[in-house]
Amino acid sequence: AQSVTQLDSHVSVSEGTPVLLRCNYSSSYSPSLFWYVQHPNKGLQLLLKYTSAATLVKGINGFEAEFKKSETSFHLTKPSAHMSDAAEYFCVVTPISGGYNKLIFGAGTRLAVHP
């Protein structure tokens, strides 16, 4: 069975400082991994995805994540936080084998950005 664990329910950073949102996964198969962002009253938006190509994945808005199989991790980072980054972030896994991608979400990490 597949699952993801987001290690922090809340993260608070100052504007202009680095962001690190941690995610560990569990999967019997080689997984596809995603990060989604959810702003208040808006739909989930894909930030980036890993699908067994390059282990360092670059996404939108300056975010990136590195797939580390030995650590079963897929942490999300950004060098410099912006006020507009404040939102809920979800780490997501889906098995790479088989057909359609039933997404399995983590519990989410709420990112607060302070001036």
Binding site: G43, L44, T51, P95, G99, N101, F105, G108
Partner: protein, 115 residues
């Protein structure tokens, strides 16, 4: 272009009432998913359609939940005899094909409150 739309955006129901939630996926998208997001949690998979065929309904919490997509485009999620535990945001997502690496595009959700 138009994204995934859902209606109504908000629904208040008295316990025991039936409700119907609508999803309009992106035109031409083969795959359609429903998820349930309880307050403070990540979305959880409910059901999956490939065109008009419902291939996976393993996440539906009870036989009070029913989903259909009769013409392979618009989908309706129906909840009969609503209970307070059904209160959640119901999210619809679509993807172009049925591959497990395809990006899912989410609608804004329908927030259901059962009194």
């Amino acid at each position: 272009g138009a994204g995934v739309s859902q209606s109504p955006r908000y629904k208040v129901a008295k316990r025991g009432q039936d409700v119907a939630l609508r999803c309009d996926p992106i035109s031409g998208h083969v795959s359609l998913f429903w998820y349930q997001q309880a307050l403070g949690q990540g979305p959880e998979f409910l059901t999956y359609f490939q065109n008009e065929a419902q291939l996976d309904k393993s996440g539906l919490p009870s036989d009070r939940f029913f989903a259909e997509r009769p013409e392979g485009s618009v989908s309706t999620l129906k909840i009969q005899r609503t209970q307070q535990e059904d209160s959640a945001v119901y999210l619809c997502a679509s993807s172009l094909r049925d591959r497990n690496t395809d990006t899912q595009y989410f609608g804004p959700g329908t927030r259901l409150t059962v009194l």
